[in-house]
Symmetry: C2
Subunit: 315 residues, 2 copies
């Protein structure tokens, strides 16, 4: 049974797999292009780059694709669905770094670390900055999955009120309240912070419109660590320029990398980071935990997989 990696994990992780699973032939390639034996793979472990429909077509033994990320935009979902391939992903692996990143933004915002740093640059002792507090503020999170719940858990530890938004309005871990997406406009006025962790799907594309930013507090901060196309960038620019909201913290963009000439870079109300909220030294170790759990299931023919992807929903 061949398992082909289209990326090279650290040697320690490779060694652990080889030792734990003697019945499996593991092949580790730097890229999908270099993965000569891809078409013989029964299992592919991949970040998804360049895994084209043609390449999937050519795989005659393929049963399972483990995607080492959470987003599936790069995956040839139609081909995988057609061939009835099991797809699992690394959902949940992102929750710790992304939730930490989000709370980092929130604290930066209320504690005015940027302004404090400017004052330090000027050797100026100024106690008059209006430093705020997270306690008792309201955080609204678009998306109540693993990441959203982890953000809400931390926010609750900071004594914040947490509102979750999902499709069904079904309660989710760590949220004070959860509302259906239909009710978004009516709850947005309560939020001091609005965080989007939504994936890119037909339903979420351009979900946030002018009216949503108009409904937010003028002091609200918007944080996007999901996908850039949850809004049209001009809508956000207008909301900031027209003072509908106070600041946007953006880690994701319609086009990445963000072009050097993009207006976001120099906008004083926009903080740009290069899609790094999920980066952590623990990333691959955690991916491997999921992969090995599922591999045990697969080998035992039990079929109860962690993070099985519903291909038709796209996540």
């Amino acid at each position: 049974m061949k398992t082909v990696f289209t990326f090279r994990p650290p040697r320690s992780l490779q060694a652990r797999l080889i030792e734990r699973y003697p019945s499996i032939e593991f092949m580790f390639y730097k890229t999908v292009e270099e993965a000569e034996e891809l078409s013989d793979a029964e299992i592919i472990v991949t970040f998804g780059e360049n895994l084209t429909p043609q390449r999937i077509e050519a795989c005659k033994q393929l049963k399972w694709v483990m995607v080492a990320s959470a987003g599936l935009e790069k995956m040839p979902l139609a081909s995988l669905s057609e061939k009835d391939i099991l797809v699992t992903n690394a959902r949940g692996v992102h929750k710790i770094p992304m939730a930490e990143f989000t709370l980092g933004y929130l604290l930066n915002h209320v504690k005015r670390f940027l302004e404090l740093q400017k004052l330090q640059g000027e050797s100026t002792w100024n106690k008059r900055l209006p430093i705020g507090e997270l306690a008792d503020q309201t955080l609204l999170v678009l998306g109540t999955g693993a990441i959203g719940s982890e953000i809400a858990r931390l926010a609750a530890a900071f004594r914040m009120k947490t509102i979750g938004i999902n499709r069904s309005g079904r309660i989710a871990d760590s949220f004070s309240n959860v509302y259906q997406i239909d009710q978004l406009l009516s709850v947005l006025p309560e939020a001091d912070f609005v965080v989007s962790i939504l994936p890119s799907t037909n339903e979420t594309k351009h979900l946030l419109k002018k009216e949503h930013f108009q409904a937010m507090k003028k002091t609200a901060a918007f944080i996007n660590i999901g996908r850039g196309d949850v809004l049209e960038e001009q809508v956000l620019m207008d909301a900031l320029n027209e003072e509908e909201i106070a600041h946007a913290y953006l880690d994701v963009f319609v086009q990445e990398p963000l072009l050097e000439e993009h207006a976001f870079w120099n906008h004083e109300k926009i903080t740009v980071t290069p899609h790094i909220s999920s980066i952590t030294p623990q990333y691959l170790p955690r991916v491997f935990e999921i992969f090995e759990y599922n591999l045990d299931q697969y080998l035992q023919g039990q079929g109860i997989y962690k993070n099985r992807v519903d291909i038709n929903r796209g996540y």
Copy 2:
């Protein structure tokens, strides 16, 4: 019964007191110098500035001083002790903003927000920064009172290991482990972050010496939100310059305001903030909650006070 404030709280808070306590005559002065009727006060509510021994001597009715801060350096403790005056303070009011501030620093440190901001200034998309994580890191807190425990509680929510240091080694809320101050040197090597919230007392002055910084990890960050004289500033400069530790986040200093020509301002491994970690819009409302609780006790003659100060210990 006269209660004299040596500062002017917002009118809403004044009005609430006046309404709730009809038997008390409240006088609100901008400063202690303007407080003409100070010497007739049975209760003084003060931040402590210029409350000299002479002024205390002149108070013939004085029974209780409520200090609206936690530090007591400015208080004429000997005079108060001699006259057996009840002293209470605002301990605990600082815990929420100071713990938020500390976690803000921690997240800034591991998420490299400063470097990300520089990259934004250069319109540079660079995903290669080694972004870290708080989860599984170790936080050592010098001082396990209300503030220390609140920091530990939040750090635990971030899945950090938390070590507390106090005089007795007695366990304290939210800490994984607590050690006696004598054991400090032996536990410092475990810490990724060392936070001091120690007050200034004879025991804590210059507590941290060269050997303590040498015992820390070279990657460790030191955070001081307690009092500046927990170390001699040159000891810290040397530790940074000799790469014994990676960074210092300082909100408190031996002399405040920090002089414009002080070397800390421009040190690339030092983040300076102007003693603001405890600032919050909720500060006075929370002080008033404590004051009113104690005032109820006082009026009922029950004498079980929140935040009663042990004058001889100095906190």
